[in-house]
């Protein structure tokens, strides 16, 4: 009887140790993090990060239900842990404060596609497009993102991302062509327009910007074109 008590006690203690060190202590350390407020003579001039609202929250829900996280991470590692900064995927490492309003956090564990932590930053958006694009918007703006979502291989011909055609609608042009219509070849009199999910998703993607300076993460990287 003593032996099995020792066994049970040991097993329970091992679980308690694991939960204490890997859950409870980190929660005490990370649980109370607040946004960073920047003061200028008593006046708050800047708050980072801010909550996900409106189209950003809606797009985030689409990102989750389509499982984008299984191919795209949203975390930038330090120089010593990887080449993320040198690849131009960010200007600093990401830290816990970046994610305080993200429930769940979409950190990702796989990079079948590129990291998206800063895909909405000004630097990414203004990046001129490569040679491969067939119908290329000049910049990585909303039109670029929509086209890429509809058919990734029109923009990056080696891409292994699935086409999310089901987030778009093929419909007859009635009167004027929609301003949202994609610049892709279709039958005469028809156009391809994004559904609300696609628009929300792109709105969310363009909101992703973790380049805001934070006091705990040194902005380290030089400006290089993202690859």
């Amino acid at each position: 009887m003593n032996r099995s008590n020792f066994l049970l006690g040991g097993i329970i203690a091992s679980f308690a140790l694991s939960a204490f060190l890997l859950v409870l202590v980190p929660q005490m350390q990370l649980g109370g993090i607040q946004p960073q407020f920047t003061n200028d003579e008593g006046k708050i001039t800047d708050i980072y990060p801010i909550e996900n609202r409106g189209i950003v929250a809606a797009g985030r829900a689409v990102y989750i239900s389509e499982g984008c996280v299984y191919c795209h991470s949203q975390q930038v590692r330090d120089l010593q842990n990887g080449a993320d900064l040198e690849r131009g995927w960010g200007v600093r490492r990401t830290v816990a404060r970046d994610y305080i309003f993200d429930s769940p956090p979409l950190l990702g564990s796989s990079r079948i596609g590129p990291d998206l932590a800063n895909v909405g930053s000004a630097k990414w958006r203004n990046e001129p497009e490569g040679e491969n694009a067939l119908y290329k918007p000049a910049r990585r703006d909303a039109a670029w993102e929509l086209l890429h979502l509809y058919d990734p291989r029109t923009i990056v011909k080696e891409s292994n991302m699935p086409s999310y055609r089901y987030l778009f609608e093929r419909r007859k042009i009635s009167g004027q062509r929609s301003v949202d219509a994609l610049n892709v070849p279709t039958d005469d009199g028809f156009e391809i327009v994004p559904k609300s999910e696609a628009k929300a998703l792109v709105g969310y993607l363009l909101s992703l910007d973790k380049s805001h300076p934070l006091k705990e993460a040194k902005t380290a990287a030089p400006e290089v074109a993202a690859k």
Partner: protein
């Protein structure tokens, strides 16, 4: 480490021979009482394995041909992938593993299961929850946390079912007639006690108001690691520690090695979870702690491997004769290889290359398929004849299953490791473009499709063979179905 460690070496022999030392009549009665629930767990687990096989095959095709099924929302890669991992882990892994657990606890404790309906009810709850969960994932309703995708409502149903099962299983433990529990029982009790707390705490964490952001990710990583490295691994090792000595007919080589192996396993494994977020936005001390725990796990890898291999010494030819030994020993070796690769990959210098690549997927498949599933197959080959009263019909079918599973699983893991290394090296070189990274790894994807096709063929044969056994179509009971008869000169 006093009480368990000081048990005299002789008890191990007594314990491992536990169920041959009691009369065949009593053994038959224990098996008869376990038949219903254990067959239910195995049969249902196998159905989930078939579904997981189809889903796994689809994901491997989609990685090579991204337009495959891309226009059907509920079959797109981003939904099929989590459906696959959850089906494999919570459907096949947990149910088949629990079947083995219940049978082992009954046999080793010489307990006749009373009110088996409780176990079956638990399994029904578990599967209703899981089915809703998988449908939810395919419909786009997921928690968004990797490894914990199943929506909370479904997870609660699963947990309720599990509590029924674990309560009954622990009763088997407490009503055992042996006072010194055998090595396998240590691992089984550890698995049974760890799982519900880890699963419940992980799901609670993302519902509590002040656990936000990175903490949710950390808890999910911790729970996924516990699921793989404590829950499935402990059941797999328990089965290996039972089956190898049993079929070889010789006690486990060393009791002390087993003691060191078990306690280092249970203490250090639970601290390794943070390596999944290595380099990520979590405090650096967490990753350092997990790497240190991984290195300390070397004690377990070495002692368990030595113990199982030394138990086999001089009897390696049994892999040519006994299906149980062939599957189980393959699994035991895969445990050693998988744990060692896991240890290496946790080191910072390696992790910075292989993190975020298929290499990590390969590590998971090594544990869940090449180790755990192969040992469970071995256990089912051993247990099923004792439940249904006839022996497996055809040694050819067992051979086909083995080659499909071993070559398929091996090939899959091999190409994923290579693909991960190739894309990891490309990712680490800031001069390469994303297109070049995709090309670096895409060559291997054809290999993973072939691997899945072989696995699927093996599973089809196994499924058919299992069905025949349920219909009592097999060899007459008594002598186990062997690949080839054991020659006189080989016997000792």
């Amino acid at each position: 480490m006093t009480a368990v460690a000081t048990a005299p070496t002789s008890t191990i022999a007594a314990a491992s021979a536990a169920d041959t030392s009691y009369p065949a009549v009593e053994r038959a009665a224990v098996d008869a009482a376990a038949r219903g629930p254990v067959l239910f767990f195995f049969g249902n687990g196998l159905l989930w394995l078939m579904l997981a096989t189809v889903l796994g095959l689809i994901t491997s095709i989609q990685l090579a041909f991204p337009s495959f099924l891309a226009d059907v929302p509920f079959l797109s890669y981003g939904r099929i992938w989590p459906a696959f991992t959850n089906t494999l882990s919570f459907g096949w892994g947990s149910l088949a593993g629990l079947g083995v657990t219940i049978w082992l606890l009954a046999r080793l404790g010489r307990v006749r299961i009373k009110f088996p309906g409780v176990l079956v009810t638990g399994a029904v709850f578990w599967q209703v929850g899981l089915t809703y969960g998988i449908i939810g994932i395919l419909a786009g309703k997921t928690t968004g946390l990797e490894g914990l995708e199943i929506p909370t409502g479904s997870a609660i149903l699963m947990l309720l079912g599990y509590l029924l099962i674990v309560f009954w299983a622990l009763l088997l433990f407490s009503f055992r007639s042996q006072s010194t529990p055998f090595i396998s029982v240590w691992y089984l009790v550890a698995a049974l006690l760890w799982f519900p707390w880890s699963f419940a705490l992980a799901h609670a964490a993302h519902l509590l108001p002040n656990v936000t952001g990175v903490m949710q990710g950390l808890v999910a990583a911790w729970a996924s690691q516990n699921f793989l490295s404590v829950w499935l691994t402990a059941i797999g090792l328990a089965a290996a520690y039972y089956l190898i000595p049993k079929v070889i007919n010789r006690p486990v080589h060393s009791y002390n090695l087993a003691v060191y192996g078990f306690w280092s396993f249970i203490i250090f494994t639970g601290l390794t979870g943070a390596v999944r977020l290595s380099g990520g936005p979590i405090p650096a001390w967490l990753v350092t702690l997990s790497i240190a725990a991984n290195i300390l796990l070397l004690v377990q890898i070495v002692t368990v491997t030595a113990n199982l291999v030394l138990t086999m010494r001089g009897q390696y030819h049994m892999v040519y004769h006994s299906p149980t030994i062939r599957f189980t020993f393959f699994g035991a070796i895969a445990f050693t290889v998988g744990s060692s690769i896991g240890l290496l990959a946790s080191l910072r210098s390696v992790d910075r290359i292989v993190h975020f690549t298929q290499f990590q997927n390969a590590e998971t498949q090594l544990v869940i398929y090449c180790f755990f599933s192969m040992v469970i197959f071995g256990a089912i080959y051993y247990i099923l004849p004792r439940l249904v009263g006839c022996e497996w019909l055809s040694s050819t079918m067992i051979t086909m299953h083995f080659w499909g599973a071993a070559y398929g699983g091996g090939l899959l893991v091999f190409v994923l490791l290579l693909s991960g290394l190739a894309s990891g090296v490309a990712l680490a070189n800031p001069g390469t473009t994303i297109a070049e990274i995709i090309e670096a790894s895409s060559l291997y994807m054809a290999g993973s499709i072939l691997g899945w096709l072989l696995i699927a063929a093996g599973h089809l044969v196994f499924g058919l063979h299992f069905l025949l056994m349920l219909l009592r179509i097999g060899q007459p009971g008594g002598e186990p179905t062997l690949f080839s008869p054991i020659g006189e000169e080989e016997k000792h």
